[in-house]
């Protein structure tokens, strides 16, 4: 009798314990406190290059919406490779417009419904019409207006005229030029031709991403007066031969110190003084400067080589994750991120919203090309420019209006890569 009683007590205890365990496990599995147990946690895998993947943007977005951004940082080439070969390995892609020529025909991207994007009609005309302040800019190469619209949501073809579906929603873009060390060069630089000037023998560098590097080389070839390309972004085999030949001759003469492939490499080359002139990205120049080293993003008379990147959605994305991705894109265009990027020297896709989140003096310095009325600081608080300084290249209109060509994928891409390998092997 007493035994039986003991048994039942034990039994009750063990049942109790088991249910408690179960409950705890459930909470643990959800990874959350019971209060928000019901809400499914969204994590977006964001594939892109390290340049655009800022921790503070992800943190701010999570604080605003509860959606987590998980950065997957790879090189420009690898973004395309993953998009083509493993479209299920990400939920949001941040890639460049020129890469679309390789990605869109695979059908791995979904057209973005502009009806779901609040600020879609405020996206700068540079993307939709190829204009800055009503003035046409250069459209050699893969200009965004050529690849931004798709024929439909599931289309593998670009549309020449605006449609409801965009391939990528623009995020950041810029116009690139040469970066120089004014303290080591000690004279004005005004032309792309200076990159191959023997004066800088052993102190010059060029980008080792073939499709971009060859565009810089083409700018130099034109500046040297060797040849005028009908379209630098889509060369014939003969034109590729000529461009690579020029590079090989310079390399054999010892012009290049190094070639660089990623952002940090270019910063290190410049900051250490290994290189005094090289093709460079604007934020890399900013990064050199924040180390207290003089570095100029030098405007040149032949103009700029522009690039633009944007957010795309993989074709397989659906449900909550798709909604989350749209939420992120809308959030991104809403101003906070735009202002953040503008302060790094990039440009944001929707200017009005970014302007609203910037101080008037900041806007005047970054976008209007006016002298700084106060010290200009980076988003991380580093000093970028002192009071009275003017931004390299001047205003948004002066800089983006001076675009000569866009990063591109050529029809003769395979041949170009083969010739580029020849340059590296020379």
């Amino acid at each position: 009798m007493s035994d039986a009683k003991k048994d039942s007590t034990l039994g009750a205890l063990s049942v109790q314990r088991r249910s408690v365990l179960k409950g705890t496990a459930g909470i643990l599995a959800a990874g959350m406190f019971p209060a928000i147990h019901a809400q499914e946690k969204i994590v977006l895998r964001y594939l892109g290059t390290a340049v655009n993947q800022d921790k503070e943007i992800a943190d701010k977005f999570k604080a605003d919406t509860g959606i987590e951004i998980q950065y997957v940082a790879v090189t420009t080439d690898d973004v395309t490779k993953r998009a083509v070969t493993a479209p299920n390995s990400f939920d949001l892609i941040d890639t460049e417009y020129f890469s679309l020529k390789n990605i869109v025909p695979t059908g791995n991207l979904k057209g973005i419904d502009t009806k779901r994007i609040k600020n879609a009609d405020k996206i700068t005309t540079l993307f939709t019409k190829g204009e800055v302040a009503g003035k046409k800019v250069g459209d050699q190469g893969t200009a965004p207006k050529k690849t931004i619209f798709l024929e439909g949501e599931k289309s593998k073809k670009f549309s020449a005229t605006p449609t409801q579906f965009m391939s990528l929603i623009p995020t950041v873009y810029n116009a690139d030029t040469l970066g120089i060390r004014p303290d080591l060069i000690k004279r004005p630089i005004s032309s792309w031709a200076e990159l191959l000037n023997p004066e800088f023998k052993g102190k010059a560098a060029i980008l080792n991403i073939p499709s971009i590097g060859i565009m810089d080389a083409a700018m130099v070839v034109e500046a040297m007066g060797l040849y005028k390309y009908p379209d630098k972004g889509n060369m014939t085999k003969k034109e590729i031969d000529l461009t690579i030949k020029t590079l090989i001759e310079a390399k054999k003469a010892g012009q290049f110190r190094s070639l660089w492939k990623d952002f940090n490499e270019s910063v290190n080359l410049m900051a250490s003084g290994e290189v005094v002139i090289q093709s460079m990205w604007s934020p890399a120049v900013t990064a050199v400067r924040t180390k207290g080293i003089a570095c100029t993003f030098q405007p040149l008379k032949e103009g700029y080589r522009a690039w633009a990147s944007g957010f795309g959605l993989p074709a397989t994305l659906s449900g909550k994750k798709l909604d989350g991705a749209y939420e992120f894109i809308n959030w991104f265009l809403d101003g906070w991120a735009g202002a953040y990027l503008n302060r790094q020297g990039y440009y944001s896709a929707v200017l009005d919203t970014a302007k609203a989140k910037m101080e008037a003096y900041e806007w005047a310095y970054w976008m209007e090309g006016k002298p700084a009325t106060q010290d200009i600081k980076s988003p991380h608080g580093d000093l970028l420019a002192k009071k009275g300084e003017v931004r390299d290249g001047g205003s948004y209109e002066a800089r983006m209006g001076g675009i000569a060509c866009w990063n591109a994928v050529m029809d003769e891409n395979a041949y170009m890569v083969q010739k580029w390998n020849e340059f590296v092997a020379a």
Partner: protein
């Protein structure tokens, strides 16, 4: 008496041919097949495929192999592929020679000059310390040392040995070889040291008693007995250098070609079939080198 049980010699003739042995071999075989043979077969298959800008097209074509050797038979200049292999072989030979000499000397010191077992172990572990950090970090550490404004150059300029910083220290053939030697000498030390420790010390005494000089002992006794270690170390070093693209890239300022680098560029431009063809050729070459090396020594017997 003349006819023992017939089953005994049968099982004795094939030791280990029991079910248990097969089971024991299975995991490794499975891993080998799954992660080596199947991928290799796929690479071989893809190397005969066609491709366009963004996709691979199943096909059977020699196009990729032809493309690899394009211009190699005509042209006045050497073609890219030959040039690349030539530069790769050059690094291979230099690095192999240097790591061998240094590795042999270090092992010799450890094995024959250090008397105490404890010190031997400590020094040997010291040799492996470089492996506690990643390859890339060990490589990048050279940059601030050898750069134009690096430590070595500021010292040279400071002492007055040179007026201008020396340029060939970094982003040159020199820096590539230096980094390789730094990274891979251990691969020589370990097998050579291992071989040396197996040498019967009485052989050395016998050599000395027979009146051999130190050099004669080294050349006629120690080196032949270390052959296995030397060959194994050589295989390690040669296969790594043949396939490397990271070290050559970082230390050579991305300006020096290597076969691995070409394959990497091609895969990043989605030219997988072309890259596969290149990889197959590289693999064939490396296998031939290894085959030739293993002719010099029967590794199975020696181990």
């Amino acid at each position: 008496m003349s006819a023992p049980t017939p089953s005994l010699p049968a099982s004795g003739a094939a030791p280990g041919r029991t079910i248990a042995a097969w089971w024991q071999a299975l995991p490794l075989t499975a891993v080998f097949v799954l992660f080596f043979l199947i991928p290799l077969a796929l690479v071989l298959m893809v190397s005969f495929w066609d491709y366009n800008q963004y996709e691979m097209l199943p096909d059977f074509t020699f196009k990729n192999y032809v493309a690899v050797f394009e211009g190699c038979l005509s042209g006045d200049d050497m073609c890219v592929t030959f040039k690349t292999y030539l530069s790769t072989f050059k690094f291979c030979l230099l690095v192999w020679f240097l790591t061998l000499v240094i590795g042999f000397a270090v092992s010799y010191f450890l094995a024959f000059h250090v008397k105490s077992n404890g010190v031997q172990v400590v020094l040997f572990v010291l040799c492996t310390i470089p492996f506690w950090t990643s390859n890339v970090i060990r490589m990048i550490a050279w940059v601030p040392l050898l750069g134009r404004n690096g430590l070595v150059n500021s010292m040279l300029v400071g002492v007055g040995a040179v007026d201008q910083p020396v340029e060939w220290l970094l982003f040159s053939n020199f820096s590539v070889v230096l980094a390789f030697v730094h990274l891979f000498t251990t691969f020589m030390i370990v097998p050579i040291f291992n071989s040396m420790m197996r040498i019967d010390r009485s052989l050395l005494e016998a050599a000395a008693d027979s009146g051999a000089t130190a050099w004669q002992t080294l050349w006629n006794v120690i080196v032949p007995l270390c052959r296995t270690g030397i060959i194994i170390g050589s295989i390690f070093v040669i296969t790594i250098v043949m396939g490397d693209f990271v070290t050559i890239g970082v230390m050579g300022g991305q300006q020096i070609a290597s076969v691995g680098k070409i394959i990497q560029v091609q895969t990043s431009y989605l030219q997988f079939p072309l890259a596969a063809a290149n990889a197959v050729i590289l693999l064939a070459l490396v296998l031939m080198i290894i085959w030739a090396l293993t002719r010099l020594v029967d590794i199975r017997k020696e181990l």
